[in-house]
């Protein structure tokens, strides 16, 4: 069984970025493999242990985070590791281009994966674009999946159940399993292993997006019920905005 994993850094971890006056600064030294991708990799390992196969890990992260993520994946048991240089994967305007180039790369290299896994962290656009480009099924928000590929997909008020049809792209949540920890021996081996490097050419014309932090509100609201006839109304509005009143 041939499995590919698209691995990402832990994006929504307070240690990985700081914000000051609406400017976000990423800290690549704190970026490690995301929990969702670890769970996806654990699932892939369980499949290959049962059915024999290989797991090729790709990451589109840049700088030192990329090597770190790939080392972790190799240490857990992945077969090969590839760093893909293709521009900023977090930029929504570039994602489709990168996905398209990745599909082109897979086809050119006859990489016919039975399963492409990715842990769910950001938008569905990227894995969906890959599935569309390859003409295969896409399963999103998978909250449970077993080695027979019976899955559950979370909905707001319920779930969808079924069995995945391969080949497929599956985006999983971290609830699917508790991933194994790598050993120090395997991590030491992984650190000394070679990592493949692949580059895609993408155009950055028209790319103007940037990440802006949510402003932190520190001001206290004071409601003088005696002096302001609308104070009660204002208080209720603010409580509703903060989800404390329905």
């Amino acid at each position: 069984m041939k499995i590919a994993l698209i691995a990402k850094a832990e994006a929504d971890n307070p240690k990985t970025y700081t914000s000051h006056k609406n400017k976000v600064t990423y800290h690549p030294e704190n970026l490690f493999l995301s929990e969702e991708d670890k769970s996806a990799l654990e699932f892939a390992l369980q499949l290959t242990e049962l059915k024999k196969g290989t797991i090729d890990v790709f990451t589109f992260e840049q700088n030192e985070a990329a090597e770190r993520i790939l080392h972790e994946a190799l240490a857990m048991g992945a077969t090969t590791a590839t760093k893909v240089s293709a521009g900023n994967i977090n930029d929504p305007l570039l994602q489709n281009q990168i996905a398209s180039e990745f599909v082109h790369y897979l086809k050119e290299n006859n990489e016919n994966y039975d399963l492409i896994l990715t842990g769910k962290t950001t938008s569905s656009a990227f894995p969906a674009a890959i599935a569309t480009g390859l003409g295969i099924s896409f399963y999103d928000y998978v909250s449970m999946i077993d080695t027979s590929l019976n899955y559950e997909m979370k909905l707001e008020k319920g779930k969808i159940t079924g069995q995945c049809v391969l080949p497929a792209v599956i985006a999983t949540l971290d609830s699917i399993n508790v991933p194994r920890l790598a050993s120090f021996t395997s991590l030491s081996t992984a650190i000394n292993s070679s990592i493949n490097n692949v580059s895609f050419k993408t155009s950055d014309e028209g790319v103007t997006s940037e990440i802006v932090a949510k402003p932190v509100k520190n001001e206290k609201a004071i409601f003088n019920l005696d002096q302001d006839p609308k104070a009660t109304q204002k208080l209720v509005e603010i409580l509703k905005q903060n989800g404390m009143l329905r």
Binding site: E29, F32, E64, E67, R68, H71, E72, A75, L181, A182, S183, F184, T185, L187, S188, I191
Partner: protein, 381 residues
């Protein structure tokens, strides 16, 4: 932080942190600290990822990390619990002693015991022989192809959970030079294990008295030669001293983390207490102490990786780090105030834990003697 970690070191530390977050939760640590217990099952996850043989070379089944890298891993682990980390370190330090002083066959035999997940202990101290190793009375008498061991040992770290010991016994009445080291299988008839000590701190570290009554040990279990026991013990102490220092840094870091976090949250007189100069001074002193301690430990580990003698540097590191840790952990309790004095917060445990490090692996008074001796040698005509 002032220490410039390599990419690899960051990855090792991250793995240690993942392990600690998953298996050494505050609830688990608190539970066993209260009980003063350390079931072997608690260490199974650590053994699974190779923490029990971190620094041991690959050919013996270890992960083969350098002293420097393994120290950083154990510093991180000690942030969760120093007693837990001490248990793992004691095993591979004992193996390293056999590797340094014993035969290849002995080292392989020792590694074969601990590789699958069993523990080792090193025992020298007795009721009347602590700092004064020359007062060891437990005897080993040669009879044909074996030695017969008799005597009692005190404060054996890992003694209650180990499957193999390195024991220091007297083979002649020649003071320090009459001591010899032996590999002893726990299952040898005549060994009794006493009650786990109810210690003030490091309560997840197993510490027991051991008794040996007519324990027959094959002659090939003698490590090195007769009379070389004190050298083997000192080698062991050089290693364990350095690791004790690294554990202390981990505890200090935890104390700083807890104190700084609390100081930013706790408000008195309408402001966080971190805004008060007296608290700021304490935090500044704590942070400086942690960084200097870490740099000192790192330097000693680098020297060990280069096979340089660390008799003086190891003693200096242990002395400085463990002494300064008393102030750091005490200040952490002070910053947390009344709550810091209760078990509701972890800082009182940190204060209890670091006290032990001033005593074990050679008291700090002995470290001063060692340092003074080494310094004097340099200035002798």
């Amino acid at each position: 932080m002032t220490l410039l970690y390599t990419q690899e070191q960051k990855e090792y530390i991250h793995l240690a942190q993942e392990f600690g977050d998953r298996y050494l939760t505050p609830e688990i640590i608190k539970k066993y600290d209260l009980k003063g217990d350390c079931p072997s099952s608690l260490f199974e996850p650590a053994i699974k990822i190779g923490l029990h043989m971190l620094e041991i070379p690959r050919e013996y089944g270890g992960a083969g990390l350098s002293y420097e890298d393994s120290a950083l891993v154990f510093e991180k682990l000690a942030e969760y619990d120093a007693g837990y980390a001490l248990t793992l370190i004691t095993s591979f330090v004992a193996l390293r002693c056999v590797m340094l002083a014993g035969t290849e066959e002995q080292a392989q035999r020792f590694a074969d015991v601990i590789r699958p997940g069993r523990f080792a202990a090193f025992t020298m101290s007795e009721a009347d022989a602590g700092s004064d190793a020359g007062s060891v009375k437990a005897r080993a008498v040669r009879q044909g192809n074996e030695y017969i061991l008799n005597g009692n040992k005190a404060f054996a770290t890992n003694g209650g959970i180990a499957d193999i010991f390195i024991g220091i016994f007297r083979t002649s009445n020649n003071g320090n030079h009459g001591l010899s080291a032996f590999m002893i299988d726990k299952n040898t008839p005549g060994i009794w294990v006493g009650k786990h000590e109810d210690k003030m701190g490091l309560r997840l570290s197993n510490t027991v008295p051991l008794g040996f009554k007519n324990v027959h040990v094959p002659a090939e279990n003698l490590i090195g030669q007769e009379g070389r026991g004190i050298n083997i013990a000192l080698n062991s102490l050089n290693l364990s001293r350095a690791y004790v220092s690294t554990l202390t840094v981990g505890v200090m870091q935890r104390a700083l983390n807890e104190a700084a976090k609390y100081a930013n949250q706790r408000e008195q007189f309408n402001q966080p207490i971190s805004q008060f100069e007296s608290v700021q001074n304490m935090l500044a002193n704590m942070a400086t102490a942690v960084e200097t301690a870490r740099l000192l430990v790192n330097n000693t580990m680098k020297m060990m990786d280069k096979d340089l003698s660390v008799r003086q540097e190891g003693a200096m590191t242990k002395l400085y780090v463990t002494d300064v840790a008393q102030k750091v952990t005490s200040d952490a309790v002070q910053i947390l105030g009344g709550y810091g004095y209760t078990r509701a917060y972890p800082v009182e445990k940190l204060m209890r834990d670091v006290k032990g490090f001033q005593i074990l692996e050679g008291t700090n008074e002995i470290q001063r003697m060692t340092i003074a001796r080494e310094v004097s040698k340099k200035y002798q005509d």
